[in-house]
Amino acid sequence: MNIKMKQDIFQAIADPTRRAILTLLTIQALTPNVMAEKFDMTRQAVSKHIKVLQECELVKPEQSGREIYYHFNAKKMQELDHWLAQFRQNWETQFNQLDKILSTMKEQKK
């Protein structure tokens, strides 16, 4: 697979703290220090969460002077919705196939 992710995006957003970080980042880009302050966490704990989010490309770092600001990557979230839509489509197709089979089975029983 060419689009290999180290972290599964579902796993990444399953964690409440990471969801809170993402929500905050949708409003503004933040540095790890500010995030640590807002969540009352150690800088290390924040870094771990950021690493997970960055590995599945939900956040992107941007260097600004001596600080690194993390941005929310809305495109990745859209990608997730796109794959889910495809998954939904697969199920829909299968069920439509099943409709036809069931109606044939009903005919045969008559």
């Binding site: 697979m1 060419n2 689009i3 992710m5 599964d8 995006i9 579902f10 796993q11 957003i13 399953a14 409440p16 969801r19 997730l80 794959w83 889910l84 495809q86 998954f87 939904r88 489509q89 697969n90 199920w91 829909e92 197709t93 299968q94 069920f95 439509n96 196939q97 099943l98 409709d99 036809k100 089979i101 069931l102 109606s103 089975m105 009903k106 029983k109």
Partner: protein, 165 residues
């Protein structure tokens, strides 16, 4: 044909759960058979143009279905489903995981819970999938896209040959 029949697909991303509900215009026994008998399951459980082929299926608790999703270009994606719980014509649960052609599973997989109920000749099926992984779905969809592209290319060639005649 199935315009009046309910189809609902909901994703709880935070809880990693997918809820699928579908109604079928058939009695419970028939729908149950369609989900649990190999010769019927194989006819519908891969979205066209993919098809599926079951190597073996032993529908009982502790039993297994080992099957392949076959892409239009002939590529195979093997899947193992282990049945963990069965209440006839009411519910069955399975553990779904991708595998290689020798039946070695790629863990972790996902848990699937199927519920069946009938009202006025319409059977409702509720499927809940726990711990689905985007990565797995992505690899399947990607394979599907590639396979589909190959198939369309074949069609292009076929049409080109036909139109030359």
């Amino acid at each position: 044909m199935n315009n009046d029949l309910l189809f609902d697909f909901t994703v709880d991303k935070a809880a990693q759960k997918i809820f699928i509900t579908r109604e079928f215009n058939a009695g419970l026994s028939l729908v149950w058979d369609a989900f649990t008998k190999q010769e019927i399951v194989d006819q519908w459980s891969a979205p066209a143009p993919m098809r599926c082929q079951t190597k073996y299926m032993d529908f009982k608790v502790g039993g297994r279905r080992f099957y392949a999703m076959i892409l239009p270009d002939g590529q195979e994606r093997w899947i193992v489903q282990d049945y963990t719980s069965i209440t006839p014509k009411t519910n069955f649960k399975l553990y779904n995981a991708f595998a290689d052609k020798d039946e070695n599973r790629e863990l972790p997989g996902s848990e699937w819970d199927h519920n069946f109920s009938e009202q006025n000749g319409i059977t409702k099926v509720n499927i809940t999938i726990f711990n689905e992984s985007l990565e797995r779905m992505q690899s399947l969809s990607e394979g599907f896209r590639i396979g589909y592209t190959v198939m369309l290319t074949n069609l292009d060639e076929l049409l080109a040959t036909l139109s030359q005649k």
